[in-house]
Amino acid sequence: SQQGEEDPQALSIQEGENATMNCSYKTSINNLQWYRQNSGRGLVHLILIRSNEREKHSGRLRVTLDTSKKSSSLLITASRAADTASYFCATGSEKLVFGKGTKLTVNP
């Protein structure tokens, strides 16, 4: 069964706006990761947040983690057309289980 579930399934915004994607999971975790996928090809790791962290930043990315709610969010600030992709959260220590992803479209 899927461990992580992202929402929304699809998100369309204008360049310059912020994009927020959410992920919910079911069981306890050691860490949670976010990945990006362009055009159905390989996924690229974006950021990992550990279970004892509440927030983490990397460039224009901000990830939060609320273990009490079993949820995480990924915020992309000042979005660009090049951010158009699908974004997935993943949990697991040895076997990573991915959600179904959020398809983000950033319109120029």
Binding site: G40, R41, G42, L43, S93, E94, L96, V97, F98
Partner: protein
């Protein structure tokens, strides 16, 4: 190599034929994963190797699917008697086993089309 390499990148096969997909992980990575992704869908876990052993084969869809890994390196995913529903991108990934920081690195995938 520098990254995870998969071959073939694209494969069109006739229904009923067998196909073999290959994955070369990043050198030194002991963990190797196979995922399947149908068009517009999420990633479906197939199998996971730790070294040459597969402690978790729970995701293999049927007994037509098998995978092996040798030399703690190359892995092959074999699909026998392919069916049209097997059409998908098959993604391989590898990671070191530094617990708690297990970033995995993906290959570009093998597009399989069964006609």
């Amino acid at each position: 190599g520098a990254g995870v390499s998969q071959s073939p990148s694209n494969k069109v096969t006739e229904k009923g034929k067998d196909v073999e997909l290959r994955c070369d992980p990043i050198s030194g990575h002991t963990a190797l994963y196979w995922y399947r992704q149908s068009l517009g869908q999420g990633l479906e876990f197939l199998i996971y190797f730790q070294g040459n052993s597969a402690p978790d084969k729970s995701g293999l869809p049927s007994d037509r699917f098998s995978a092996e890994r040798t030399g703690e390196s190359v892995s092959t995913l074999t699909i026998q008697r392919t069916q049209q529903e097997d059409s998908a991108v098959y993604l391989c990934a590898s990671s070191s086993t530094d617990r708690g920081r297990n970033t995995i690195y993906f290959g570009e995938g093998s597009w399989l089309t069964v006609v």
